[in-house]
């Protein structure tokens, strides 16, 4: 008798608990993502914890591999097999592609309740909203037009922060004369592409960037300005150390941290490496916009989407979308991740100098209409076209193509990928 009573009591308790938590008592949400390294994983933990308190159990599907190439392969396989996860991390034109295939669930109800339309910059909405429906929730905004300089080395050669491309070259010449490798670079297509988009924006300005990268206008791609861009790429290559081929980005950052090299062109995730090495922004290292790109921001934003086919986990995925857009969570998340909040209405109180500058620049660029998607990180052009750009850029940078021939090759490659 006692045992039966205890079962009854515990069942009643369970029902009561379930009721108090709404209907989400034992919901599971499978989330596919590629944030497996230290800071990223810790930042993601905040989202997990918040969901947990709301009664959603986070089932982790981590697929290691930068920029999510492997994760996308796994996702493809699972969707093809009819077993998609409930939600996942997506980037740029992948969101558009998945949405075109009808794979992403409509999260408009959450978005309207949260006032996303006012809080998010328009260029981000162009990805998060398809055909008038919200389908993705951005948690952060990274910008890719940063130059990171080792302050000690900068002071040693008596240099100042360069504001134009010519000043950058003058500074690099000073480093070279002092026997310091001026530019740390990793010869991987996406890193070559990151430098390329910076040089392009610096050379041609935001209007040229929009024409060449976002609209892929053949006239712009084959123009003399583009030839100048490639010539400048070849010029920058003379400031690399000889062993740059195939180097990972964080090893290039480590060269700047250790003082083996003076500067690196990289997105703001590089800040995490500096900070983890005990360096302070402004004091031990300098973060400036890539010379000539001041006033513009090329962005890369991490977004979460719910999968249509994972409907059984629907309510939990909606909760995830709401949490991701929570201002408080975005502030805490980005303090760890090193990016800036996707919402423009988050106060910058706790951020460091680089973070504050990033948030200010984001606001300004949004108002001026110079916030544009990064090519190298999938927000400038669809995957096939992005890779076509990479093909030409890496070939030119590695001396397989001349700067004269590169614009024509670019026109052909982009046309071939369309």
């Amino acid at each position: 008798m006692i045992r039966r009573w205890s079962i009854l009591v515990s069942t009643a308790c369970a029902i009561a608990l379930g009721a108090s938590n709404g209907v989400r008592a034992a919901e599971d949400l499978e989330v596919i993502h590629w944030w497996t390294s230290g800071g990223e994983a810790k930042a993601l933990g905040l989202v997990k914890d918040k969901l947990q308190t709301q009664g959603v159990t986070w089932k982790d599907v981590p697929v290691a591999g930068g920029s999510g190439v492997q994760a996308m392969t796994v996702l493809r396989a699972r969707i093809a097999a009819g077993n998609p996860p409930g939600a996942g991390q997506l980037l740029g034109f992948d969101i558009v592609d998945w949405s075109d295939q009808g794979m992403l669930a409509d999260i408009s109800s959450v978005a309207e309740k949260g006032g996303w339309g006012q809080a998010l910059p328009k260029p981000l909405q162009a990805f998060a909203m398809q055909d008038g429906k919200w389908i993705a929730a951005p948690i952060d905004v990274h910008s890719t037009n940063w130059l990171w300089i080792n302050k000690k080395l900068l002071d040693r050669v008596g240099g100042k922060e360069p504001a134009t491309f010519d000043e950058l070259i003058a500074l690099f010449d000073k480093f070279k004369a002092a026997g310091i490798t001026p530019l740390a670079h990793g010869g991987q297509p996406w890193q070559d592409g990151t430098v390329f988009e910076n040089v392009l924006l610096s050379t041609g300005g935001p209007d040229f960037y929009r024409k060449a990268i976002i609209e892929q206008d053949p006239a712009a791609l084959g123009s003399d300005t583009m030839k100048t861009v490639f010539e400048r790429m070849s010029k920058l290559r003379t400031y690399f150390d000889p062993n740059f081929s195939g180097r990972d980005w964080n090893l290039a950052t480590a060269m700047v941290i250790k003082g083996d090299a003076a500067a690196q062109v990289m997105g703001d995730w590089a800040k995490g490496e500096f900070v983890n090495a005990g360096m302070k922004p402004g004091q031990d290292f300098v973060c400036i916009r890539f010379p000539g790109t001041q006033g513009s921001v090329t962005f890369n934003s991490d977004m979460f989407a719910a999968f249509e086919a994972g409907k059984a986990q629907g309510d939990a995925a909606m909760q995830l979308a709401a949490d991701v857009m929570d201002p408080d969570l975005q502030a805490k998340f980005n303090l760890i991740k090193g990016a800036v909040p996707a919402r423009l209405d988050v106060p910058d109180t706790n951020f460091d100098a680089c973070g504050k500058k990033g948030m200010k620049d984001l606001k300004e660029a949004t108002e001026k209409g110079t916030l544009m998607g990064s090519l190298a990180h999938g927000y400038g052009a669809p995957a096939g076209i992005k890779q076509a750009f990479f093909d030409v850029v890496t070939q030119e940078l590695n001396g397989q193509l001349t700067a004269d021939a590169a614009p024509k090759a670019l026109v052909d490659a982009v046309a071939g990928a369309k």
Partner: protein, 330 residues
């Protein structure tokens, strides 16, 4: 991954056993099994044991090798980009494939890599096998040393050679620190020479295995013939050139088939060693196939390139199989 595997499985699965020394056939094993009590059920089981044991692996092979080959062929005629779509596109994907400059780079690299890899592996394998066949002392210790690289995966080989050939870490630096400062060996980061570093690493990995095949072949040659030649006063070089090497013809053929399919399916070695770079200097059809299928959202083009690779292997394997089977029948 499926379509990558499709291109290479049949050759890998089928070519390997052909060249190896014969193991006791399944019929022999069944015959050797001790006779059980003669009841009907057990008798049936005994009679059909081989078929029963083989049927799961046959089914698995049918689905996962031949089934996926068919799937890949279907995809190559579809408009698939991000996900498989079954909408007829005719030969459009093949037209796109043959209009892609990267594909020509990949084919040219396969020509250089495949040609040198096969030629050097065959030559080195035979040469070492002949040296080992001189009844030298310590052969039992030397053989595994040569064979050992084969036990390492291509990823490990690629990574090790990447470090070894990197001018800032490996050979170059050691030479410089020993005082030979004018020494340069920068093939790994030189777009014109990078493909040859893949050849070096590939040969290092495989030639020991080819050596083992030739050694087995050499041990199988009738000593009487060689002794007769020696009595007739034929010089050693002549004996090898005229008598022994011609008798190794079947081993040559098996080694060639194995090396050929390994060359065409080479993927992990390139990824670990150069990542296809610098630029696209070491792109191979296999890396091309993976990147177009999975990272460039051009699944149809990727499938078409996989079919082209399969056709290349089939062009070699099918005549070989045909001649093998015909010989066995007569």
């Amino acid at each position: 991954m499926s379509s990558k595997d499709v291109g290479m499985q049949p050759a890998g699965a089928r070519a390997a056993p052909m060249g190896l020394p014969a193991s006791p056939s399944r019929d022999d094993l069944v015959k050797q099994a001790p006779p059980g009590p003669g009841s009907g059920g057990v008798g049936w089981l005994q009679a059909n044991m081989a078929k029963l044991v083989l049927s799961p692996s046959l089914a698995v092979t049918l689905v996962f090798v031949y089934g996926f080959i068919v799937w890949t062929v279907v995809l190559s005629f579809s408009t698939s980009r991000l996900l498989p779509i079954y909408k007829w596109a005719g030969l459009e994907q093949y037209a796109r494939l043959w209009a892609t400059p990267n594909w020509y780079v990949a084919i040219k690299n396969l020509g250089i890599y495949g040609g040198l890899y096969i030629a050097i592996s065959l030559f080195l394998g035979l040469f070492i096998a002949i040296l080992l066949d001189q009844r030298i002392r310590g052969e039992g210790g030397l053989r595994p040393i040569f064979l050992y690289p084969m036990a390492i995966s291509f990823i490990v080989t690629g990574t090790a050679w990447k470090w070894f050939l990197n001018p800032g870490l490996g050979l170059d630096r050691v030479m410089h620190s020993w005082g030979w400062t004018s020494f340069t060996f920068d093939w790994l980061i030189n777009p014109d020479m990078a493909i040859y570093t893949v050849v070096i690493a590939g040969v290092w990995q495989t030639s020991g295995f080819i050596m083992a095949m030739f050694l087995a072949g050499l041990r199988g040659i009738d000593n009487e013939v060689i002794k007769a030649a020696q009595i007739d006063g034929a010089p050693t070089l002549q004996i090898y050139w005229r008598i022994i090497i011609p008798q190794l013809r079947p081993v040559f053929l098996s080694a060639l088939i194995i090396l050929l399919h390994m060359a065409i399916k080479s993927y992990d070695l390139v990824i670990a060693l150069t990542g296809g770079g610098p630029g696209n200097a070491t792109e191979l059809p296999s890396t091309f196939m993976y990147s177009y299928t999975f990272t460039r959202n051009a699944m149809g083009v990727g499938a078409a390139s996989a079919v082209m690779m399969l056709m290349t292997i089939a062009a070699v394997i099918v005549p070989y199989l045909y001649s093998e089977l015909r010989e066995r029948r007569t």
